[in-house]
């Protein structure tokens, strides 16, 4: 209920921003003329802001344009995840994540809230919780992913607070039952959450200018965002929290494992010393666990590095691996102030990312595209692009998550809190390309073999099937087939090289179904298709 109210409030904020119209680039108005959005532009928006185009033309987006489509996406009913039992029928820990993985892929395949899901997934790759880190319960993940879904279009400070108090995150980074130092036992508060919330979820290691460049000191060296003492102080601020009590029980010390609800404070385990966090942000002595937590989160939220640090990662997840400093600065400025004095307004930030002239330049077939633009589709996105483009279906028995797993991205099983790939990863020639960290000689072959399974076997497994009928129907006229593939998978921007290779493969077969399969294999294994650009 609270989430709905907050959501509604933020939506009004967003509309107020539109009234100012300062955010909307003139290019946008040029596009939203009475004529409808060309399919090239519409499907490009869908590549960036959904789990992928389908053979059905996006008429609403074409007729109403990006801005109205965005508003509809924000309003769309929110796809959810069902809670899973803590214990299985055998009385043992239930660590079967298959139903939650299936829910994720079914939501992505069919849910109306496509953009919300893309943002939520990006958030889940920043605020990482993994089964491999002791969170070996299926019950851990639905509440966490419901937070990402519910909060995707709220405020970043709310995301910070909700995920910080989520029990799965508490268990993964050991904030749950993290007690103040005990001189008698020779222990100190553990630093895991205090360190990683700064390094990975909010600030990064190096202070950033609004355009994402590092702040340098007088000798040209990057200035760190925090010191070892900050790590200690923030860790102490987060002490004294435990699992939510089971219904009908009272909190005493360390509550038993419970993933439902938010963590609760235990004042006796909280460090009440004064804490010096950042210049201008100190926590006085004798504050409660709640006061220190709110104070620490707000201090992090107000740091000047946070807008560029988070904005750049959201850009990298949605539009391009290598945004220009100016693009980062434009989005980070909206993050810092949405035009109505609100910092961290996610609706405004996401709209700024998608509507930016740099993101939209490729819509226009007469502008030569920047060769460095775009990003590789990560495995989960690649597989969903295939499913949505190729008439895919995911049943309750599907093991579709294993397909992404074979490419190095097993959903809910990131190797560590550093996620599946680093935002800093570069190709050997120095190009920023996070997703390439898990694109190897092995996963390149595996990716082509998944395309082969989808097209030539019609399935990944009995519960994950594909239907090529619209392509086979088009294949009686090979040129029409290539046009359809070009529209659905290449937003009508397929290169002549790829078109020639498709024709080469098609020319060796005669039956329409064989032509459709040969054409799709070449198109979907091409390097050009792996890069959303």
């Amino acid at each position: 209920m609270f989430a709905y109210v907050a959501h509604h409030m933020r939506f009004r904020t967003f509309l107020a921003t539109f009234a100012a119209a300062a955010l909307l680039p003139s290019f946008c108005f040029a596009q939203s003329s009475p004529e409808q959005l060309p399919i090239r532009a519409a499907n490009r928006i869908l590549e960036q802001g959904t789990w992928g185009p389908t053979p059905t033309p996006p008429t609403i987006l074409q007729e109403k344009g990006l801005q109205a489509w965005f508003v509809e996406q924000v309003r769309a009913p929110i796809s959810t995840y069902l809670d899973q039992p803590l214990l299985g029928a055998d009385g043992k820990n239930n660590n079967n994540l298959q139903p939650v993985q299936v829910a994720f892929f079914q939501n992505a395949l069919n849910g109306p809230d496509q953009l919300r899901q893309r943002v939520a997934f990006a958030l889940s790759e920043i605020w990482v919780v993994s089964e491999t880190g002791g969170v070996n319960y299926a019950a851990a993940f639905p509440p966490l992913f419901n937070i990402f879904q519910n909060d995707a279009f709220t405020n970043y400070e709310q995301i910070m607070r909700d995920v910080t108090l989520n029990p799965a995150m508490g268990r993964f980074l050991n904030m749950v039952n993290n007690d103040k130092a005990d001189p008698a036992r020779g222990t100190s508060a553990n630093e895991n959450y205090g360190r990683e919330i700064m390094q990975l979820f909010t600030l990064g290691l190096t202070q950033l200018n609004m355009d994402g460049s590092p702040v340098l000191d007088g000798t040209g060296k990057p200035v760190p965002t925090y010191t070892p003492n900050t790590v200690t102080a923030v860790s102490e601020a987060f002490t004294g929290w435990t699992y939510p009590p089971q219904p009908g029980t009272v909190t005493r010390g360390h509550n038993p494992l419970n993933y439902i609800g938010a963590m609760v404070p235990v004042q006796a385990n909280h460090d009440t010393s004064a804490k010096d966090l950042f210049p201008g942000f100190t926590l006085p002595a004798n504050q409660s666990a709640e006061q220190d937590l709110d104070g620490a989160i707000h201090a992090l939220f107000m740091q000047p590095s946070l807008p560029p640090f988070i904005s750049k990662q959201l850009i990298q997840h949605l539009t391009t691996s290598n945004p220009s400093p100016a693009y980062i600065q434009r989005v980070a400025s909206v993050f810092a102030n949405n035009g109505s004095g609100v910092r961290g307004d996610m609706q405004s930030v996401i709209y700024a990312i998608l509507s930016d002239p740099e993101a939209r330049a490729g819509d226009n077939p007469w502008l030569s595209p920047s060769p460095g633009y775009g990003h590789m589709s990560e495995p989960v996105l690649f597989i969903l692009n295939l499913l949505r483009g190729l008439g895919g279906a995911v049943s309750s028995t599907s093991t579709v998550a294993n397909a992404a797993g074979s490419l190095g991205q097993q959903l809910f099983y990131a190797p560590s809190v550093f996620s599946f790939f680093s935002p800093q990863y570069r190709t050997p020639d120095g190009s920023p390309a996070p997703e390439f960290q898990i694109y190897s000689t092995q996963s390149a072959a595996s990716r082509a073999n998944l395309v082969n399974a989808a097209i030539y076997n019609g399935r990944f497994d009995a519960g994950t099937t594909f239907n090529l009928s619209s392509y086979i129907a088009a294949a009686s006229q090979p040129a029409a087939l290539v046009d359809l593939i070009n529209t659905v998978f290449f937003h009508e921007a397929m290169s002549d090289s790829t078109r020639a290779a498709i024709n080469q493969a098609m020319s060796a077969v005669t039956a329409p179904s064989d032509k459709a399969k040969a054409a799709l294999y070449i198109a979907l294994t091409s390097g050009e298709y792996q890069i959303i650009h």
Binding site: D179, N192, A448, N452, Q504, A508, T525, G527, E528, I531
Partner: protein, 447 residues
């Protein structure tokens, strides 16, 4: 299934980029080293292994200091059933009880311990650290940065290449084929990225073969179209990067298929664990080294889960047996292949962990760490370097929680391995640019 007969070769001439690997064995290039085989095998312990509980000085003074400071992480009695004695000086040490295979190899002189190794710019004392009086590695205590620094040996943290990749650049010419010198069975790693050479990644038990092709003309036409497209510029820069990796994959798949098809399985049984499967795959590739045309190889394996902020005692009870049993099986496999003196295995890890425990019975990120080196060429059964003084806030502590300042740098550790591997002294500085900052360029654990 994929049929080799249906494979259409693309010759070197049709490949437009230098990054692509041509097929087939090349004539032997001028040999700068000897013709014998040598391989390095890295086992990276991701998360930061608390080596304070891996091997412990067992003399009265040190063990007493250890047990008074480690709180709920202290090992005693039944946890410490593997005493060993250093070959030099005879001092007693003890391995964690779940590392009994490692202790046996230590006693058999197949394994040694290198103490308190970590990323450094130059030798650093506590006073210098606290006073910021010497240049320090960037972002100490951060997982990602310290992993990168262990893999690149560049403490400034801005290296596009890894130290093993740079070493591979120098020795690749000794190999008789274009098959990559660096092979990872744990995905991409910066460690193996060179300037002129790129790694190959192969998952244990898998192949790089492309499914769905046969010898029919339709299939061959599709295969030809697929491979031609890899060489064409589509105007999207990252697409070319993806094409290069796919082209490498195709070339490496053929080389691996050719070599492995003529091989038989190893007799040595490996444990059915992640690291066991990785090392089994490495051993299988070493077995076919002649078929692959390899004289110098570097392998990369990984075991995660060492970030033990809480519940460390329990976590080590699953991690350490996996590590110990897999390394022992690999050592046996090298004996089976007769390569025990030609293959040296070593550990790396982000960092060690605080000597002082956390409230959740774990430990936090620290710095210098003890490491394992294994193989017939190792001067085993000994401790190289010096254990820190077990004193919180003492002379070896970076602060007050037992974050030991390393007394051996990653450069020295790597240079010792690379000297044995065949990198000339004159070239070591190309691989380890900061090596000149340290007195000893060879720690002596390899003959």
């Amino acid at each position: 299934m994929f049929s080799r007969r249906g494979f259409i070769k693309i010759g070197a001439a049709s490949v437009g980029s230098l990054a692509l690997r041509p097929f087939g064995l090349l004539p032997a290039l001028a040999q700068s080293g000897s013709a014998e085989y040598r391989a390095l095998v890295c086992v990276f312990l991701f998360g930061g292994n608390d080596s304070n509980n891996m091997v412990i000085p067992f003399d009265d003074v040190n063990y007493k200091a250890y047990s008074s400071l480690r709180g709920n992480l202290v090992l005693s009695g039944a946890d410490l059933t593997n005493p060993v004695y250093a070959a030099t000086g005879g001092a007693p040490y003890v391995f964690h009880s779940d590392l009994s295979e490692l202790a046996s190899m230590f006693s058999n002189k197949d394994l040694a311990v290198v103490a308190n190794v970590g990323s450094l710019v130059q030798p650093t004392t506590r006073a210098q650290y606290l006073g910021q009086a010497t240049p320090l590695p960037v972002n100490l205590f951060s997982h990602s940065d310290q992993q990168v620094q262990w893999q690149t040996s560049i403490p400034a943290g801005n290296s596009p290449t890894g130290w093993a990749g740079r070493a591979a650049d120098l020795v690749a010419g000794q190999n008789l084929s274009q098959f990559p010198t660096f092979l990872s069975v744990a995905g991409n790693s910066l460690m193996g990225t060179g300037t002129t050479t790129q790694p190959v990644a192969l998952n244990p038990g898998q192949t790089l073969d492309l499914a769905g092709f046969n010898s029919s003309s339709a299939s061959q036409a599709r295969r030809a179209a697929f491979q031609n497209l890899l060489t064409l510029n589509t105007g999207v820069k990252l697409a070319q990067s993806a094409n290069n990796i796919m082209a490498d994959s195709i070339a490496d798949a053929q080389a691996l298929d050719n070599a492995l098809s003529k091989s038989s399985p190893l007799v040595t049984q490996f444990p059915k664990t992640s690291l066991g499967a990785q090392l089994a795959q490495v051993a299988q590739i070493i077995k076919v080294r002649d078929g692959l045309g390899m004289r110098r190889q570097i392998f990369f394996c990984a075991l995660g889960g060492f970030d033990t902020h809480t519940g460390e005692i329990l976590a080590h009870k699953t991690l350490y047996p996996q590590l110990s049993q897999a390394l022992a099986a690999f050592n046996n496999a090298m004996t089976e292949l007769g390569t025990q003196n030609e293959v040296t295995t070593f550990t790396e890890s982000d960092f060690s962990r605080t000597f002082q425990a956390t409230s959740g019975d774990g430990s936090d990120h620290a710095w210098g760490s003890h490491h394992l080196v294994m193989g017939g060429a190792i001067r085993g059964g000994d401790i190289y370097g010096k254990f820190p003084a077990f004193q919180l806030g003492g002379p070896d502590d970076a602060d007050t929680r037992g974050r030991w300042i390393p007394t051996i740098s990653v450069d020295q550790y790597g240079a010792t391995l690379c000297s044995w591997f065949g990198i000339d002294d004159s070239q070591l500085l190309n691989v380890f640019p900061n090596l000149a900052n340290f007195g000893s360029k060879n720690l002596g654990f390899l003959g």
